[in-house]
Assembly symmetry: C2
Homo-oligomer: 231 residues x 2
DNA sequence: GTCTTGGGTAATATCGATTTTTCGGGCAAT
DNA sequence: ATTGCCCGAAAAATCGATATTACCCAAGAC
């Protein structure tokens, strides 16, 4: 599924994924990391030449990103990167907490060995391979958090959580990137969440997960309001 | 100015909608009411001639419907209407209850006169104009339910609820259409929900809303398992 | 008789070009 | 001097066509 992450390079290998898929992944990455800034007009022609592809794949990729709330469609006037705002940030954080708590509790309720194993594995990979490459860490980090929820037996809820995760990560990049984020001792928090989850203690796991998000949220919130571009 | 974002929706269909917009609305309706059956292959050419438009608008509309979970994209084999299943139905019902309760409580917490007025109006329109035209009733019914949630100050949550609403309505059409549904005395239930909402009694309103959904759900569930097409 | 292989058919993904719409500057009228 | 209108340029939406890909059926081999 997430085997070959699209690189920003101009290299085009047409045999693996469809042009639309490649454009989708590339554009999503560019928006999430801030290469395409909030509110920026997304001109088809420019993106077309930048990604070395046709107009149709770009259009289709932008349509798909619309549903991820990363791109907005202006009727008859093309597309633009979704704008950001303080309210939007708070909304995402709040929703994320509520939906993930729901999913986590359900996951733990359905707990079985396979899930437990996958969880431990995801945590291990994040802790180990993440030290060197920050980009790898981001990937593993999302995998770990999704693994926590993956046993909730609700694909739709998972989709919502995944979307909100990406939206949130975008704010993290925008606030100033993941460097200062990693200064906080998130490893300890992750380990604590994992522990509670494998112990099948739903209350404790939920409490720790929410605390994790609230701390990250408060941290970013501070940065955001400090350099609020809206005034 | 910066607010006129045109996302395809059930709302106002401008006289000069784009071909994509028209195709999106038409296809969505066809899937929701079952003209296009679950799992059915959606051939571009056929739809193109059926809707009198080009291939590009169809493709783009199908892409948008993918994010509404009404259409699935098969890797390089085109599109098909999302399949249905008992699990999927239960999942939608469960999620809907949880998210709508969340939104309703927040809505009531933020209650003000404007919201109250809009709510009463929506209920009145549903009760009055809905008697004659079943299709009108569906429209008003959704408007009323969304009005209940609309004050939650969370556009994303609203979007989720709206999506789940459409997915649920699809099952209602598939189970055999809205006729037998209206036999139950839903008017009374709606009135009761409205009453609790305008009284700003969150607990009571939530209880009544969920009861409303659970009854409808159980009703459809019975029909569904009885004539389960999957066997 | 069943499995494999090869060709034919149909549908999709993509591209290039055309048409329609929008945006911005400049000119005229008040 | 300001406001409203018009025209040129640019961008987006759509259309028609092509090449690639997957699917299906038949023929031959084991």
């Amino acid at each position: 599924m997430a085997k070959d992450v699209a690189r920003p390079s101009t290299e085009v290998v047409g045999q693996e994924a469809s042009a639309t898929q490649k454009a989708y992944l590339a554009l999503r990455r560019m928006i999430v990391v801030g290469e395409l800034q909030p509110g920026e007009k997304l001109k088809i022609d420019r993106l077309r030449s930048e990604l070395n592809t046709g107009a149709s794949p770009i259009r289709e990729a932008l349509s798909l990103l619309t549903s991820d709330l990363l791109v907005e469609r202006l009727d008859q006037r093309g597309f633009r990167a979704a704008p950001t705002s303080h309210e939007n940030f708070v909304e995402i954080l709040t929703l994320r907490c509520e939906l993930e708590e729901m999913a986590l509790r359900q996951s733990i309720l359905n707990a079985d060995e396979a899930w437990e194993d996958a969880l431990v594995l995801a945590h291990h990979k994040m802790a180990r391979e993440g030290r060197d490459d920050p980009e790898q860490f981001e990937e593993r980090h999302k995998t770990f958090h999704m693994a926590l929820l993956s046993n909730c037996a609700s694909p739709i809820l998972m989709k919502f959580c995944s979307q909100l995760y990406d939206l949130n990560i975008r704010y993290r990049y925008l606030a100033g990137n993941a460097l200062n984020y990693q200064q906080r001792d998130v490893s300890t928090e992750h380990a604590a969440i994992l522990e509670a989850a494998v112990d099948r203690n739903a209350d404790l796991a939920a409490e720790r997960l929410l605390s994790h998000y609230h701390q990250t949220g408060a941290f970013l919130n501070g940065l955001f309001t400090m350099k609020d571009p809206e005034g």
